[in-house]
Structure formats: structure tokens, C-alpha cells
Symmetry: C2
Subunit: 894 residues, 2 copies
């Protein structure tokens, strides 16, 4: 490979690389080159490309032959630029060596500073800087860093010697050691290195450099880096670059400083310069926290009530230069930048720039502001927002300034913060809520019977269950805060108390939970309510203009539908009728139906439920004002509704007019080994057609009622769950059509309706062409489709999914982000075959994935018509759908 360029120089207002060469030069190297190119003051240096790393590993850890010469040439250029020479005893060049991969990579060797120092050059540095202490402190730091990361001499050896030096002199701070002490420490360090390594600390600067470069490349294959790459799907073949750069010193006197800054406020997004600096300090001193950094601007000083003088005051010239650079960088990068700088003897040097991390609120403000500043296009503004981060803005959150006493921590299962009094049962939660109390429902785990209590509560806390447990899924659907699986929690239903490590909270006492962090706190912690106006509204409006897919919400009850409308849902993609059966009197009638031994018994119970269902649907249709509403007929295994306690059994027996023993026997017979794969979904509709008949009638009658009351004609979409064969759908559609005929005749009015199906079983996906002969729409139930494609129960996966992620077998929980390779192929197949049969087939998704940005991107790619998610994720979905449309368009155009 002779002739390949391995080394790229930068500095002095020019560079061989540029920002777009990130793959070759790594993020840091590319940005150093870019800053040089646009004339910013960057200490000169060079980047050894990622191709060297690749070559190194492809050739049994040997470098390309001509690398050595290219490094020598680049080094000579740096010497010429700085006017100092590597290893020169009088005027030595010192350099830093840093790794720099394409993506940020914790676990790799990071930095060696002050490289080039040895027993001779340290004297030159002392003389030239006029500060012997500074020179030996620099040498001491170099040996320590180099010893640790290059030579593999454990860090604690140096820490021990440093401590001994301080003990000997009876001082506590490193800064209290004088030049003589540091000189002795350097000698001790070198002796330790010789002892550990069996050879002296290297004195040849070029040998030091080669060893440091080798250590960076070597660290690419250390265990931590390998694990990190596996977890983040970074190919080993990418390799890392190495940056070698002339040292500048912020710690050479009072005209020196070092600092970090954001070009805008990363917390609020305000277009104000934001950061801090330290006079006479090196970068690591800021991190070490020994001295308190000072504000950059006078405005910043005022805002934070800081007494220390701002840079604007003490170093006005350097500050002015920095403000110019800030403007240059933002105009150039067209995004908020996170920068590092050093001032050496009054001269400003830029050491790093990169796009700055920011809060969701700041991200939105910056994006909107930059559009208004004509820095970026609207599509760019939309494209760079992280939809998942938006979630923070849609729920109340803890006031960051409020004090808190953390009791324990669980999984951050549903975002938002909530305070309230503890209630240990759903009934108690409901009762307290009716009395006007804010309630946190606390359960070991929740079940469908707790729904009314979850609705009544502001937040839910459980001791068991994972991110996809019942509590978590339902809470996310309802937009309630939830902390799940707080394993340290001891809950005693008898004493009505919870405790963690001896600290007890009784029913009626206040706690606060933060569903975004998983924290559980004692007492009430102040929260901030979400705002969906201003910049947020602007972003949503832009996103709506860019997306192709509609966004619907999963909403079971009118209160959910109202939330969905508030968040901008364009319809309901999934109304689960089973949740309607758990409230008040209904559950008794429902149980009566289930334990009935024959059709007559079931019909008697259904006659009680029918009018309630009709009322529910009517209200739902009215809220949605004619927008499409997809209603799924009864789906879950019947035994979920079974009476459990003796009291419940007696209640049902009384309602049904049968003996308690009959109810008990029937309940036992309904037990299933694998209810997820059992007698549920359309199987219920086929074995007990009277249930679906009642539901179809309630839907169609409600549609007519709501159409009359609002003047908005309703076109209900009746959805049959868990279809595996077309024959099931044929049978049930015939039944629905028959009922519809009766209803219309009775009402003297026609109502348009669609009959479709969930595609939630692999067989249904494969047979989609056949099923679409009958189905007028498909809604992908990707929760169940994931369960069946993987053979993986959501409820039970907690036992091993964690281990799977730790070992890198699954990058992501497939219940959170749709598995493109497997489940995704089933969806693609179904889309293709379904549309081949029925070109106007309406296609949507209603699993939890409907609110996940990566999954929404997939839905756009396969051409679904809409996504449906929980009301509180609708804005996320709107943004993600816009991004998906933009990205897919770009791919198509490419």
C-alpha cells in the first residue's frame, strides 16, 4: 500500500482534512482539521488515520512501512510551526496524544499530555517558562499518565507515591508541593516504573510518541472497547484515529486559562454564550473540582449569583476573540457547539468543537431559533430532533431545584413525575381520589383488575415486573407515571405499609415517584407541568406538514380519547374493549357471563353489558368527532376476568343465581397453561358468538347514535383479534354483517363500517393475501407478533432478557423497538401480500412499537398508512413520522 496517505496535518489556518472526513480521521481529528481550515487558532498537529488502525490489525499488528516517514514529516511541520523541536533541551516541543474514533468510544485509551518531556527537556521547559514548579509538575503528570495507560503500571502506584510526598511534607493539596518536592516525586515515579517494568522510563521523545500511538491502537481491541462496540453495533473494522497535537498550556501563569463552553444554553436553548473557565489551570483541573470555575459572561455571572469575576471582565481581549469564534462556529456548523479552549499567555487556542448535547426543551428552542435565524431549513430542524427525548416534555417533571429524599429506585417504566398519598389497593386509590386526594397506587404487581385504581391514581409503583409488565404497559397507555420492579420495596398488604431497609411508609402518607429516572422519594417533591405551546407547537406544525403517515392513538375510554385529541391524534387506532369490562358493576356481569355453562346464561349476562358498551362507544365516537375509530372485539383469555376472592365468587354466584361451587368449578376449568396462546381473541368470538354479536351491535348502534348527536357521521372500524386463518374472519364477518343488517333495519338508517383484523400471528402475516380477501384493513399487533415470532412471553422475559442484552445477543428489547430482521419481515410480507389482493387495504400498526421512532421509521419504509400509539406518545410519533418521511425520501432520491 505504498503511496497511501496515512497522516493528515492541521494548524496554521490550513489542514489536509475536513469535517466530512470523520470516517478517516475520527470525530476529533476531523473537527480539528475543519477548525484549522476556517482559520480558527488550533495548535498545530496531525491525525494518523483510522486506516492505519485497520492495517495494523489486518497485518498482525504491524504498521504500514511508510507510516514512520509520514509521521516524521508531519512532526517536522509541527516543529516548524511552533518554532520548537521535539527533544530539544532548550526549546522542546511537547505534544498531546489522543484517540479519536468515528463515534465516541468510552473504554479506549483517552489522552497522554506533555509527551516529549524527559530529564533534559524538563529543564528547557523550566527555563523557558521561568517556572520550575510548572515544568516538574508537567513532567510528573506525564510520567503518571504515560506510565498508566502506555506502560501498564497501575495508577495506584503513582497515587501512593504522591500521597507519601504530601505526608512527608505535611500538606494536603497537590498544589502545595513545591518544585523541589515535585522533582523528588519525578525521581520516585521513574524508580517505580523501572521496578514494575524492569527498564527505565523512556527518555527518547520519538520512542515515547511511538509507544503512545501503539497504546491507542492497542486499546481499540481491549475488552471494554470490544464490549462497548458489540453493545452499540460498531464494527471493529471502523478502527480509531490518533491525534498528535502541540501542547498549549493554560497553567503557565495569570495570563493563562482553560475553559469549556456551549455556544447556546444547553439547558434552555437560549441564544446566550454559556460556559466556565479557570485562570492558570489545565483542563483536568476543571474536572478534578479542586477549584471552582468562573462564569464566562457577565450575564452568566448575574444569572447564577456568582461572585467570581467573569472572563468577559478579566480577559476582555481573549473573550472577544472567543465570541467571534462562537459566531464563526455556529455559522459554519449550523448547530450549537460544545467547545474546549485554552489561553496561553494571552493567546486563545481551540482544542475541540463538536455538536453539543442539550435537553429536549433546548433542542426544540434551538431548532426553531435557528430556522428563524436562517441558519437551517425547517426539514433540518425537524431532522435533528430526537423524538424519544421529546417524551420528557409531555409529562410533569420534577423541579430540578427541589430537594428530595430518595427512598429507593426501580425501573423508569412510564415517564412523568407524580406525588400523592400511598394507596395499597385499587379500591382505596379510587376512594381517595374521589375524596380529592392525589394518589400513588402501590402494588407488588398489577393485574387487569387494578385498572380502575390505576386510572384514579397519579402514579403507579410496583415491586415486581419489568419495562413491559402490566403496570408499565398500562401506565404508559394512560400517561400515568410509573416506577416498576423496585425490588428493594417490601410491601405488606395486611399492615398497609411499604418499607425499604427499615424506613417505613404507611397508607395515606405522601411519596413522589419519577417515572423518568425510577426514583422513589419520601414526601412531596415540587413538579413542573408540561407546555405544548410556543416552540413545541411550531415544531409539531412543521412535522405535520412533512409526514405521510397519519398518527392515531390507542385509547380505550373517553378520557383517553380526549387526551389523544389534545396531543393531536387523527383517530383511534386501537380501542381495547376489555378494559371497559373491569369497571364497577360491569365486572360482575362479565364474570357472570364467563362462568355461565350455556349460551342462555351468557346471553342473560351480555344483556346487562350491552347497553353499557353502547354508551361507552357513543361517548368515544362523540369525542373523536367523526375521525376514524378502530374497535377491537374482546381479546384476552377469559380467565383474566375470573373472580379470585371468595367475596367475588359469592357476588358472581348471586348474580348468576347459581351455587358457589358451580362458579368455583367453572373458574378452575378455565385455567390455562399458556393463556397467551390459549382461548382468546377471535377464538372467543367463534366459540361464544353471542359475545361478539353483542359488541358488534353496541358499536353499530353507538355509531348511529353519535352520528345523530354530533352531525359527524361515524365510520367504525371493527377489528377481529388473533386471526390465524381466513376462515375465522369469514365466519365472524358474516356474523357482523348480519348484525349490521338488523341494526340498520331497526334504526331505519345505514351506517358505513369496515371489518378488518389484527395481524399479530406469524401465520396471519404469511396468509395475508388470503385474509385480505375478507379483511378491509390490517392493524399490525406487533406486541403479539413479537411474542410469537420470538416465542417469547413479555410477562416472563424479565428473567433472561437482561442477560441477553448484557451478552450482546439482543441490542434492544424487541418489545420496545421492532425487530426488523424477523418481525419486520413478517410485516413486510403481510403488507405486500395484503396489498396484492386488495390494493386499497388500509394498513396500520397498534402495538407498543407505534410510538417508537425506530419502529415508526420502519413503518414508513414498508408503506403503512398510519401508526397508533398511546396518547402521550402522539407528539413523538408525529415528529418521528416526519423524520421517517424525510429520511425515506432522501434514500429514494439518492
Amino acid at each position: 500500500m505504498t503511496g497511501t496517505k496515512w497522516v493528515y496535518s492541521f494548524g496554521d489556518g490550513t489542514a489536509e482534512g475536513r469535517a466530512e472526513m470523520r470516517e478517516l480521521l475520527g470525530g476529533k481529528g476531523a473537527n480539528l482539521a475543519e477548525m484549522s481550515n476556517i482559520g480558527l487558532p488550533v495548535p498545530p498537529g496531525f491525525t494518523i488515520s483510522t486506516e492505519v488502525c485497520t492495517h495494523y490489525y489486518a497485518h498482525d499488528r504491524h504498521y504500514p512501512e511508510d507510516l514512520d516517514g509520514q509521521i516524521a514529516a508531519a512532526l517536522a511541520a509541527v516543529e516548524a510551526s511552533v518554532g520548537a523541536r521535539f527533544g530539544d533541551p532548550v526549546n522542546p516541543l511537547l505534544v498531546s496524544v489522543r484517540s479519536g474514533a468515528r463515534a465516541s468510544m468510552p473504554g479506549m485509551m483517552d489522552t497522554v499530555l506533555n509527551l516529549g518531556l524527559n530529564d533534559e527537556t524538563v529543564e528547557g521547559l523550566a527555563t523557558r517558562s521561568g517556572d520550575r514548579r510548572f515544568a516538574f509538575d508537567s513532567y510528573r503528570r506525564f510520567i503518571q499518565m504515560f506510565g498508566d495507560v502506555v506502560l501498564g503500571v497501575d495508577h495506584y502506584h503513582f497515587e501512593e507515591l504522591l500521597q507519601e510526598a504530601k505526608d512527608d511534607r505535611d500538606v494536603t493539596l497537590d498544589t502545595e508541593l513545591d518544585a523541589a518536592a515535585l522533582e523528588e516525586l519525578v525521581a520516585a515515579y521513574k524508580a517505580k516504573v523501572r521496578e514494575e517494568r524492569g527498564e527505565p522510563f523512556p527518555q527518547n521523545p520519538r520512542a515515547q510518541l511511538d509507544a503512545a500511538i501503539g497504546a491507542v491502537f492497542g486499546s481499540w481491541m481491549n475488552q471494554r472497547a470490544i464490549t462497548y462496540r458489540r453493545l452499540h453495533d460498531i464494527p471493529a473494522g471502523w478502527g480509531t484515529a490518533v491525534n498528535v497535537q502541540a501542547m498549549v498550556f493554560g497553567n503557565m501563569g495569570q495570563d493563562c486559562a482553560t475553559g469549556v463552553a456551549f455556544t447556546r444554553n444547553p439547558s434552555t436553548g437560549d441564544a446566550a454564550f454559556y460556559g466556565e473557565f479557570l485562570v492558570n489551570a489545565q483542563g483536568e483541573d476543571v474536572v478534578a473540582g479542586i477549584r471552582t470555575p468562573q462564569p464566562l459572561t457577565i450575564a452568566g455571572k448575574t444569572a447564577s449569583n456568582d461572585d467570581a469575576p467573569a472572563m468577559e471582565e478579566v480577559m476582555p481581549a481573549a473573550f472577544a476573540a472567543l465570541m467571534d469564534i462562537r459566531a464563526t462556529l455556529e455559522a459554519h456548523y449550523r448547530d450549537m457547539q460544545d467547545i474546549e479552549f485554552t489561553i496561553q499567555q494571552g493567546k486563545l487556542w481551540m482544542l475541540q468543537t463538536r455538536n453539543g448535547k442539550r435537553t429536549a426543551a433546548a433542542a426544540i428552542k434551538i431548532a426553531v431559533d435557528m430556522v428563524h435565524e436562517d441558519l437551517i431549513e425547517k426539514t433540518e430542524a425537524i431532522g435533528r430532533l430526537d423524538p424519544a427525548a421529546i417524551d420528557q416534555l409531555l409529562h410533569p417533571r420534577l423541579d430540578p431545584d427541589a430537594e428530595r429524599v430518595v427512598l429507593t429506585r426501580g425501573l423508569p417504566a412510564s415517564p412523568g413525575a407524580a406525588s400523592g398519598v400511598v394507596a395499597f389497593s385499587a379500591d382505596e386509590a379510587e376512594a381517595r381520589s374521589k375524596r380529592g386526594e392525589d394518589v400513588i397506587l402501590v402494588r407488588i404487581e398489577t393485574s387487569p383488575e387494578d385498572i380502575h385504581g390505576m386510572h384514579a391514581a397519579r402514579g403507579i409503583l410496583t415491586a415486581r415486573g419489568g419495562m413491559t409488565s402490566h403496570a408499565a404497559v398500562v401506565a404508559r397507555g394512560m400517561g400515568r407515571a410509573c416506577v416498576a420492579g423496585a425490588g428493594d420495596l417490601r410491601i405488606d398488604y395486611i399492615k398497609r405499609s411499604l418499607s425499604v431497609a427499615g424506613r417505613q411508609v404507611l397508607e395515606g402518607e405522601e411519596i413522589t415517584i419519577d417515572g423518568a429516572t425510577g426514583e422513589v422519594m419520601i414526601g412531596r417533591v415540587r413538579t413542573i407541568e408540561p407546555q405544548m405551546t410556543g416552540d413545541f407547537a411550531t415544531i409539531m406544525e412543521w412535522a405535520d406538514g412533512m409526514r405521510r403517515m397519519a398518527v392515531r392513538a390507542n385509547a380505550d375510554q373517553p378520557v383517553d380519547a380526549r387526551a389523544a385529541m389534545r396531543f393531536g391524534a387523527e383517530g383511534i387506532g386501537l380501542c381495547r374493549t376489555e378494559h371497559m369490562f373491569f369497571e364497577g358493576e360491569r365486572i360482575v356481569a362479565m364474570r357472570q357471563m364467563i362462568v355461565a355453562e350455556d349460551e342462555a346464561g351468557r346471553r342473560a349476562a351480555l344483556d346487562k353489558i350491552g347497553p353499557m358498551q353502547r354508551g361507552d362507544f357513543k361517548e368515544l365516537f362523540e369525542v373523536m368527532e367523526g375521525r376514524p375509530v378502530t374497535i377491537r372485539l374482546l381479546d384476552p383469555p377469559l380467565h383474566e376476568f375470573l373472580p379470585g376472592t371468595d367475596e367475588e365468587i359469592e357476588q358472581v354466584a348471586a348474580a348468576a343465581g347459581v351455587d358457589v361451587a358451580v362458579v368455583r368449578h367453572r373458574a378452575a376449568r378455565l385455567h390455562e397453561s399458556n393463556p397467551m396462546l390459549g382461548h382468546r381473541g377471535c377464538r372467543l368470538g367463534i366459540t361464544y358468538p353471542e359475545i361478539y354479536e353483542m359488541q358488534a351491535r353496541a358499536i353499530l348502534e353507538a355509531a348511529i347514535d353519535a352520528g345523530r348527536s354530533t352531525g359527524n357521521p361515524v365510520v367504525p372500524e371493527i377489528m377481529i383479534p388473533l386471526v390465524a386463518t381466513r376462515a375465522e374472519l369469514d365466519l365472524l364477518k358474516t356474523m357482523i354483517d348480519r348484525v349490521a343488517g338488523q341494526v340498520m333495519e331497526e334504526a331505519g338508517e345505514t351506517v358505513t363500517y369496515l371489518v378488518g383484523t389484527m395481524i399479530e400471528l406469524p401465520r396471519a402475516a404469511l396468509r395475508a393475501g388470503d385474509i385480505a380477501q375478507t379483511a378491509e384493513f390490517f392493524s399490525f399487533g406487533t406486541n403479539d407478533l413479537t411474542q410469537t415470532a420470538f416465542g417469547l412471553s413479555r410477562d416472563d422475559a424479565g428473567n433472561f432478557l437482561e442477560s441477553y442484552r448484557d451478552q450482546g445477543i439482543l441490542e434492544q428489547d424487541p418489545f420496545v423497538s421492532l425487530d426488523r430482521d424477523g418481525v419486520g419481515e413478517l410485516v413486510s410480507i403481510a403488507v405486500e401480500r395484503g396489498r396484492a389482493t386488495r390494493p386499497d387495504l388500509k394498513l396500520g400498526i397498534c402495538g407498543e412499537h407505534g410510538g417508537d421512532p425506530a419502529s415508526i421509521r420502519f413503518c414508513e419504509e414498508v408503506g403503512l398508512d398510519y401508526v397508533s400509539c398511546s396518547p402521550y406518545r402522539v407528539p413523538i410519533a408525529r415528529l418521528a413520522a416526519a423524520q421517517a418521511a424525510l429520511a425515506t425520501k432522501i434514500e429514494r432520491d439518492a
Copy 2:
């Protein structure tokens, strides 16, 4: 459609149709034509083709215009042939009208005899036959049949009148009614028809004929026929034919007779003419059972100790003619025939011939004999055997002559008959078996812990569970007779008794179960042992020469492997290691491992199990003498092994040296909502690698041991269950390779082994191309693949699958016969993608489908290398694989 031929004549040694025209003429019509063509005496007649039926329904129940003329012409030809005229008062032609579809179709109108009789022609018949009683009996029968099936006058009306006539005359038998009585009865019948229909019984013979033809076509669309077609996948478009044929009478005097015969013995297959006849009788008299039929041959008479004279003796001329016809038919049809004949005044007439139904034993003997007689080719012999029927021959069966007292009936869950003393627990069964008793294990339902008792028992009887319950599946695997789900059975474990409707059987008392019929009998009923020699062995040898796929057995233990070898298995396709853990001391160690809180605890328990596993595998390898053995690593959810009773928990706590409460707590934590989709299969191997390590080590060490002891090198196939992603397999294969390296180093010997996977999840099927990068073989686990593709738990499907089959949603239980459309497509995809990655990928199937002929046919079509099934189904699979190879070859050649 003018010009179409709708009507096909036959008789007088010629015919317009032939045997191959079954689709057009139906089975009966085609064979009547064929018999005419080969010169057999067939009463002349004609067949109205199935196209008329199709036309009739395609044109709103109107006939083709030119049909009427074609019927008239065909009828005239019959008149000419017989020398009688339809409706002629002196010499009337009488005809029969019968339906005749392509496939036998219960539920359709069957037969009207004596059509053409009316008040005038009955007198002509009386005069010409010289038997007035005969004439009026014929007329009476005609009105009854025609009234019932054509006019829709309910059968019971005629029965009542007939009973009244007998009561009036104080007689008990129809035959005791004289001519005058029958004449009165005819009048009463006609009056009843007029009363019910509002119009007189039709007197015009042609109108009678048209109405009968219309009734046949009409019955094609009656509810019973529609249901039957749906259940048997017969398209409505096939239609039925109608056969109209001159009547011949076996009841005109002592020189008349009627009979049925098989050209060979349908029970044994012996090449002896076999049948019975009645002098002076009509066909229906044989069925009515009023008179005892006589044997055909002197040999038959001797064999059955019959006193009545044989046809060979009393009608030697007709008998000789019949023997000639027998030879002609067999030579022509090249199969055993089931015939009906009538002798009218000494003249023999053939009314029907068709391939005769026969027992499995007879089928085999006839097929072998016919090859030896040069009647058929070997491929034909193999092709016409029903593999499923062979099952009867592989198990002991009840002596058909033995008396029996049937106690109750359950599902015929695993074939074979078994007698023994009742035992109500696995331990009791084992103890009694060790004492030399034959045992029937009786349980409400079985669980994996009953395995040792099931092994010890001759048969298993359960009160609960379906055809795919644990008891049924395991019993079939072990070749034990099993009657499952005998719902009337009351089992009392405390009193140690079972009872049905008050009849009680105590532990230790004998019962007999017949797994082929589901019958449960009191006491010991004599059984016959299976023979796998002689003709059976010949058939198997021929089949082996014709098949492409290998046949392996699913065998978990040496005793199963020995059975597999006896039945001709060429290897083990599935050795489930979990069954090995339930025996004796092992279950305690296994439980100790499961409840261990950490790896050290698990390893301590595994150290006890390892040597036992190694011993099991060694013996298995030795039995198989170097044939391939696929061993599946631990698969089921751990909680299946959990201790249940207090005693078991104490035992485990003692073995593990922990507190009882710890065991109880851990057991509770292992509970799963959907264990089928839970922490099982390779998920166990990934979370607890020490388990799979132990198993891999045991397998590889055993392979080396067995190779040494037998001189047959063993190439074990290590199978990883429940793989959903390639990463799982990668991880585990790496582990196995590491263990293998250690084992080989320790043994100083290399062992070749394969690592592969079950394809039993939809995702694995789709990702087969990727998985085959690592897997060296695939074994399709179609049980789980069916469960996940359909989202259907085998254990729970009983609640609704029956209803699904009744309503025609599923033609077959997809756990019995592989669902080609859905599960089959997943298999095809996996085969294609797997082979694309690795052309020499070894492919097999090890689900229950591996023993189902239709599924085996599918396996041949997609090109699997082998099927694996329970040892007792190996011969069935060998035959089915041969047939599949033949059929696929024929399709390819076509």
C-alpha cells in the same frame, strides 16, 4: 351448450363410458360402464354426468335444454335391451335410480328402487312374475323409498302404517304379510302421500324418473352433504352423477338370489373368495338382518362352522360364473374387489364393483401376493397401502373374538391394547411392575414426573386431556397404549379407586384399555401380539428401496433406542435430555440445581448429574452402533422440575443444605405466566451456561467411551433448542467448541461432532440464512413452530379446536398434520435460506409430524434429508417416505 353429451349408456357388453371417467360419471357409473366394456353381465342403464349437476347449479337449478332428449334416447335403448317398456302395463320396465359422486358421499340421496311401478304396471309385474305378493311388495317398497327421499314424506309415516298392517293381522314379520295385505298397504301408503303432499302419488313413470333425478341433484346441496364436503375438502363444483339402471330381482323365487362378496378375504388378505348371499331376497334384506345369509364357498362354510348350504352347492352354475367374473375383475382392476350381484331366475347380474376395503394386515398380504402373482408392480403395491393403517399392526390388539365389558370410553390417544392391574401413582406403577405385574397407570392427568410410572406401565388411562395432552404425546413416544380424557371417569386418589356411574374399580384390580378405539374394559381381554415378519418385512424392504429420505426415531433412553432399532430406524433424530432427569435420585439433584441461588450451587448439583448423563448417552450410542444420534440440550421451562409436595421440598432442601423456606421462595420466583414462551430452551443455556457445559461434556465423553467400547466411531449431533437469533447459537457453539477442546485433550482422542439447532420459532425460520452460518444442521421442531405460528398452545387448544373443526375452520388438527399453508411456508423458507448459506446443511424434522404421512409427503417435497418420529411410527414413516418419493417423482416427471 348444445352438442354436449350429458348421458352415457351401458349394458349388453358395451358402454359409452369407462373406469377412467370417474370425474364425469362418478365412481359407481364409471365402474358399471367398465364392467359392461369387459363383457360382464350388467343390467343395462345409463349415467347422467356430473356436468349436468354443475350446469344445474350454475343455471339457477335448470337442466340443459337437450338433456331431456338424451335421457329419452338412453331409456329407449334400455327398453330395447331388456325387451320391456317403461310404463307398459303388460311388460313394464322397472329401473333403479342412484347417486354416484366422484368420492363416496354420505349425506346424499342414495337409492330409489323399482321405479316405474304404478297402479297399472304393478299388475303387469304380478302377471309376468306369477307372484302377486312379490309385485305388491315391490310397489310398497317403491312408494316408501320414493315418498321418503323424493317427495319428502317422513319415513315414520310409512313405518307406522306398516306396523298397523302387521298389528291388524297379528303378525310380527313383514314377510308374513300376504298379497292382499300388501295391496291394502299400498293403498294406505298412497293415501298418506296425498294427505302429506296434497297431491296423489305420481303415476307417470317418466315423471317419477324426472323427480328422482331432481332429488339426487337437489341432495348435492343439502346441509349434510355441504358439511361433509367442507370437512373432506371436496369442492362443490365436482357435482354428482345419477345412475339409472334396469331392475333385476333376486326375490322372484328359489332360482333367484342376491349377494355381496370380496374377491379376497378382506380381513386376512387370503386369496380366497369371500362373501355371503341370500336365496330369494333383495339386497336390502341382507342389510335388514331378518334372515341369516349363507356362505358363498364350501371352504367358507367349513371355516365358519356354518350349517347353511354354500352357493357353491346350491347354485353351482351361477357360482361358476361368479368365480369367472372374480378372476376377470381382479385381472382387470388389479386389486381386490368388493362386488354386489343378483341372480334372477338363474341368470347372474353384476350390480357394482369397487376396490374393497380391508384391514391393514389384509392390505399388506394382498399387495405382496399381487406382486408375486405379477398382477402389479412393487411401486404400485407400496403406493396403494395406507401408512396410517399400518399403525394397527405395530401394537398388540384385542382379539376380535374375545368378550369384553366396556366400562367407559375416552380418546384413542395411543394405539395398542393393554391389560393390567390399576395403579394410581407412578411409584405404585413402578413398584407393581417390578413385582412382575402388568400395570395400567390411571391418573387424572399426567405430568413429567409420572414418566417413570408411564415407562413401567403397559398402558395409561387419564380422565383429562386431549389427543395431544402430555399423556398422549409421551405414550405415543414410548409406544404405550393410552386412552386419554375419559371424562366420565371419577378418580379418587385417596380411596385409590376409579368409578364410572357407580361401577367401581380398586387399585390392583384388572382393566383393559384399547388405545385404538378409546374403550376401557373391566378385567383382562385377550390380545394378539404384532408380527413384523413375513409380508410386513417384505413391504418394508421394498419401501426402503424406494425412499429418498432417511427415517430416524425420537428416543430418549436406551429402551426407546432399542425399540427404534427393531422398527428399522436409521438413527435418532431427537433425544430429549430432560426426560433423563426425572428418574430416581436424579430429580433431587436436578431440583437442587434449579433452586440454587448461584452458579456455585448449580455446579455442585450438576456434578452429581453429569456422570449419570454420560452413562445414559454412552448406552444410547452403543445401542445405535454408530448411527447418527441428535441430542437436544435441556429445553423445558425449569419450573417443570420444581418440587411440588412438602416432602419433595424437604428432600431438595436437605440435598442442597439450605432452608426449606429458601427452596419454597425460589420455586415461587420461577413461576411463569406462559412457560411455553418463557425461560426455556437455549435461554437456559445462556443464563446458566454451566448446564449446557455439563451436557456437552457428557455427550462428548460418552461418544469417546462408546466409540472405544464398540469400535463404531460416534459422531454426535448436539442440538440447541429454541434459537431465535444467530447470536444465541454463536455464543453456545463457542462454548461447546471450548468444552470439546478440553474433552479431546483430556481423552487424547479427537471426536467429530456437529452443532445445530431446532428451527421451531418463526423468527428462526425467517433468519435461517443467517443461522446456517453457524448451524451445521437444522431439525424442524414443528410442534413449537405450529404453536408459535398459530399462537396456539397445544395444552390449551382442547377448549376450542373441536369447535374449530366442527365449524370447518380447520380441516385438521395442525398438531397432527402439518399446516402446509402457514407452518409449511416457514419450513420452506428456512430450507431455502439455510441451503443457500450452507449447501450441505443437514435437514430433518423431529416434531410429532415426522410420523404423519401427509406431513412426510410435505417433507419430501421441500427436500428434507430425514424425518424422525416415535419408534413405533418408524415403519409408517418408512412406508410414507417411499410413497412420498414415488409421488414426488411422478409429479416431477409429469
